[in-house]
């Protein structure tokens, strides 16, 4: 059985190695591909499915092994780098908080819902790349806010918390900010435009 070890390589390198490996193999021959990278795993699996074979994935803490075989049919010629793009889109989402309350209706309820949402957000396996706060949403990033600590924890985990600067000025909150990077609408629009998807809780 052929082994293709892509540990330590980042997209599109593992896909290029897989493509080259498959080209050298006999049709139907078995192959195991190793990767230590989540996005590469997804991209490699997508690539193999597109080639008409069903890969089997087994993982330990660090390394994923994909077991499959060389397709019987001729390989479909595709650009490995194109699969990297897909990976980014799948993995990337932005949470937009447009108000200090979650949902419309009783404000008391809206406050509790927002706290519960933030508590759960930081527990997600796939964390958002950004949390964008605007309009009265910026109040959540103030030192005295009940979700400030949840937002700080998200920031510690590498999520960028972005605050609408004009909104902070509008509500006169310049001196109370507890977490987040003050941004303008140019940056906020850009962030939302390139996001894989945007969640409005």
């Amino acid at each position: 059985m052929k082994i293709i070890d892509t540990n330590g390589f980042k997209c599109p390198q593992p896909l290029i190695m897989l493509k080259e490996g498959l080209q050298e193999m006999e049709k139907g021959e078995n192959v195991t591909i190793y990767t230590d990278n989540e996005s590469s795993l997804k991209n490699l699996v997508t690539y193999l499915r597109d080639q008409g074979v069903e890969p089997e994935v087994s993982s330990n803490e660090k390394v994923h092994a994909i077991v499959t075989r060389r397709p019987e049919a001729n390989l479909i010629d595709t650009d490995p780098a194109a699969y990297c793009e897909t990976g980014i889109v799948v993995n990337n989402y932005v949470v937009c908080i447009k108000s200090e309350l979650m949902g419309e209706g009783d404000p008391e309820l809206g406050k509790v819902l927002m706290e519960t949402f933030m508590d759960n957000l930081k527990l997600q396996e796939q964390l958002p790349t950004h949390v964008v706060l605007y309009n009265s949403g910026v109040k959540l990033a103030m030192k005295q806010s009940s979700v400030c600590s949840s937002l700080s924890e998200l920031e510690e985990l590498g999520t960028r918390v972005m605050l609408c600067g004009s909104c902070i000025d509008h509500y006169g909150l310049q001196y109370d900010i507890g977490v987040g990077m003050i941004s303008d609408m140019v940056v906020i629009t850009e962030t939302m435009a390139i996001a894989g998807h945007v969640i409005y809780p």
Binding site: L127, T129, H130, E155, L157, G158, T159, R160, L163, G165, Q174, I177, G178, V179, G180, M181, I182, S183, V187
Partner: protein, 348 residues
């Protein structure tokens, strides 16, 4: 023909990697009385590149010094780099170097005397290129050797550029690539390719003269040079002095070829970790910034580039101007200035 002497064989840390940790330094400095004088335009308070004193309406003196142990094997090149690095503090304040003194620590018992001469010649060459004058110096018997300059420069008080002049909305321009610390340590460990190491040496020898002149022409008010505390450390000091925050696009930061590979192979100098410790909680990295890049923005630079904050309407023009006047330059926009946020630096 004199025998070749490898200066790198004398030291563990060279160049600006040998700085004391910034945090420790501020602890000690805050115990000392601060000089107060209405003519003192820049004092130690803002951790700027040099002290600046107004002597009349037209002229202020810029006064600075910098010296360090060998950063490379060749004595002449070491002299050039140490001098370019010391002169840079004057350029970072928008000034013109005028006079310089050689500062040398050298053991004649351990190193052949012709090496001494070569170092001085290298330094002299750079001071000449800067159109300044060496007017003396001082030597002490010590090993490993150290060399640098004390420099006096001048600036019109209105044209002074400090590290406290960045304003929200400004774009941030970096004029040299980072990674000299990585490539020098890689050289010692046999991990830097010779051509990459040569590029690092070439860059360290370059004066910040043209970039500084262009900055003056475009009315830049906030500027600093990137040395021992790394891009992150100096950006932090500048943003803090300016009471703003910086957002830096890590992907736009120019890296010297090969520097990433050296870090990837695990050869990361101790100064990098000291700098990381210094910036600590004041810096935020998004998840997408990988470990090696995070370390590279903390890589101690020797004779690094200028980091300048410029009005967004002039940023592209200024970059073009710098790269036109200095064909070796690779100035790029790496980020922008934000209103002061809970953290001081945000790396995307």
């Amino acid at each position: 023909m004199n025998q070749k002497f490898d200066l790198l064989s004398t030291i563990e840390y060279g160049g600006c990697s040998s700085k004391l940790p910034a945090g420790l330094l501020s602890e000690v400095l805050k115990e000392l009385p601060v000089a107060v004088d209405p003519n003192l335009l820049v004092d130690v308070d803002t951790h700027d590149d040099a002290g600046v004193y107004r002597i009349n309406e037209e002229t202020a003196l810029i006064f600075t010094t910098d010296f360090f142990p060998p950063i490379c094997s060749d004595p002449f090149e070491f002299g050039e780099i140490a001098a370019a690095n010391a002169l840079s503090d004057v350029y970072a304040m928008g000034g013109t170097p005028l006079l310089a003194l050689n500062l040398m620590m050298f053991s004649q018992e351990k190193i052949p005397m012709h090496v001494f001469g070569e170092i001085l010649k290298g330094g002299n060459e750079k001071v000449r290129e800067a159109s300044a004058l060496i007017v003396g110096g001082h030597t002490i018997d010590d090993h490993p050797p150290k060399y640098g300059l004390a420099v006096v420069g001048t600036v019109h008080p209105d044209k002074l550029i400090t590290n406290a002049g960045a304003r929200p909305g400004d774009r941030l321009i970096l004029t040299k690539s980072i990674g000299t610390g990585a490539l020098v340590s890689g050289q010692k460990n046999g991990l830097s390719k010779p051509e990459h190491y040569r590029m690092a040496l070439h860059q360290m020898k370059r004066l910040n003269l043209n970039a500084a002149q262009a900055a003056g022409k475009f009315g830049v008010k906030g500027m600093t040079d990137i040395t021992g505390f790394g891009l992150a450390g100096h950006a932090l000091k500048m943003a803090d002095a300016s009471q703003v925050s910086f957002r830096i696009h890590t992907g736009q930061v120019p890296l010297l070829p090969g520097s990433f590979d050296v870090f990837e192979k695990g050869s990361i100098p101790g100064a990098t970790f000291r700098n990381l410790e210094f910036t600590g909680k004041e810096v935020h990295f998004t998840r997408s910034v990988g470990y090696n890049l995070k370390m590279l923005v903390h890589d101690a630079q020797t004779s690094g580039g200028l980091l300048m904050a410029v009005n967004p309407d002039h940023a592209d023009q200024l970059v073009r101007e710098i790269n036109l006047t200095d064909p070796d330059s690779g100035a790029v926009i790496i980020g922008e200035v934000l209103p002061r946020s809970p953290r001081i630096l945000y790396f995307e």
